[in-house]
Amino acid sequence: MIKIVDYGVGNLRSVQKAFEKVGYTASLVSKPEELQGCDLLVLPGVGAFDRAVYNLKQRKLWSPIAEHLKAGRPYLGICLGLQLLFEGSEEGRESGFAQFPGKVIEFKNITPVPHMGWNETVWVNEGVNLSPAAVEIPCYYYVHSYFPVPADPDLTAAYSDYGGRFCSAVRRGNVMGVQFHPEKSQFAGLNFLKKYCEGVLNYD
């Protein structure tokens, strides 16, 4: 069962609908007990880092998600859900899940910020098998002001360029985060979700 964590950071219907479009059922959950029996945990989110941490803790979702990550079970973080995988962010003071070493930093040498729109994205390392076949360098839709800097370069699953190269997806095993919004990225985004799900879920 795919579960999308709803913790008060916007409308997550579009994420749910994207999974449905590629043939999976995904439910929105907002209580810790609802995370039981979760094959793939999806943590979306836009907004501020500290607010996300606060909301997750207040709803008692933080610990079960941390345990899910510690066990290396399938996790897909989208935007803020990727950033929370790291130790912390320049945007706030709270600690992230620290699943991956490294920090989240702000775009500094380019305007406009946020980085908003469709940008070319190159899959590398553990992301290569998620690279869509239809186009050589796919474009995905981004909207963010901060991006991750993994301490281990092998964690980078995709990179993009905005005032210099930045890490736009991370992956180690089943745990993955993408800075772009697959649910807003039409064919390329849906294809990514499909491939990722096929890779981490076994329903038979």
Partner: protein
């Protein structure tokens, strides 16, 4: 590389897509959900809905339209028209919009920009500016769907809304809107040079070359059009291909270049 965006705009009146010339003489162009789905298939980069009636008794129709549309498309959706309060913004975002666009309300109550940016993030707040030429190099801001002159200079107003936390400006020239003679290059150029936030150029697109022109001559991040797309004179893929062929970075179609 960040791609230039091509954005179809749907003027929605009482649950139907309409299109006028110079903000007048509306004609019917279909069911918004159907039209939106077609643009999603055509790989438009974003979609804008402008509720041009926006009278309070019809708000629910619009909300329902937004909801049904958001369920059908996989690209960002901006909704504008008649938004007065952060509660209005909240409702439209909850219905499935990704961004909200404000025009008259921003001029009459500029604090709304800050309030919206604070509550939902700058990326959610688009300020629409309708400008009409006053003399060779100045434009005046109009509100109420182009009916009321406000005595505000368009460039000054753009700077002001940026300072207040707007994430993006949807800039429409009332001179060129509906004419199909091309975008208003002087207007787009002067506003885009005055601010750091992305500018969506709007008004006057009549053929693919107009898109290339606005991207080459100005710093616009996106170009918006309605009738060229609605009546399939130039479908979105054709415009995008023309842009790519003329050296403008726009997203290639899925399925190959």
């Amino acid at each position: 590389m960040l791609q230039k965006r091509i954005i179809p705009c749907l003027d929605v009146d009482d649950g139907r897509v309409v299109k006028g010339v110079n903000f007048k003489n509306l004609r019917d162009a279909g069911d918004p959900v159907e039209v939106a789905r077609r643009y999603d298939e055509q790989e438009a980069d974003e979609l804008v809905f402008l509720d041009i009636t926006a009278s309070s008794d019809r708000r629910e129709i619009m909300m329902e339209t937004v909801k049904r549309t958001a369920d059908e498309i996989f690209m960002p959706l901006t909704v504008g028209g008649g938004i007065r309060t952060t509660e209005d913004m909240q409702k439209i975002l909850a219905a499935g919009a990704d961004k909200i666009s404000i025009n008259t309300a921003a001029v009459e109550n500029p604090d709304l920009i800050e309030a919206g940016a604070e509550q939902f993030g700058s990326q959610c707040v688009v300020v629409a500016i309708d400008g009409r030429r006053v003399d060779a190099d100045s434009y005046e801001v109009y509100t109420h769907g182009g009916r009321e002159a406000r005595g505000l200079d368009a460039v000054e107003w753009a700077r002001e809304v940026e300072k207040r936390g707007t994430g993006e400006i949807l800039l429409t020239s009332m001179e060129t809107d509906g004419t199909k003679d091309g975008f208003d290059i002087p207007l787009v150029k002067s506003v885009a040079e005055a601010v750091d936030i992305p500018i969506i150029a709007s008004g006057g697109a009549g053929e693919p070359a107009h898109f290339v022109e606005v991207f080459k001559k100005t710093e616009a991040s996106a170009a918006l059009a309605a009738s060229v797309f609605h009546y399939d004179e130039y479908p979105v893929p054709e415009v995008k291909k023309y842009c790519r062929d003329h050296g403008v970075a726009v997203r290639p179609p899925w399925g190959g270049k």
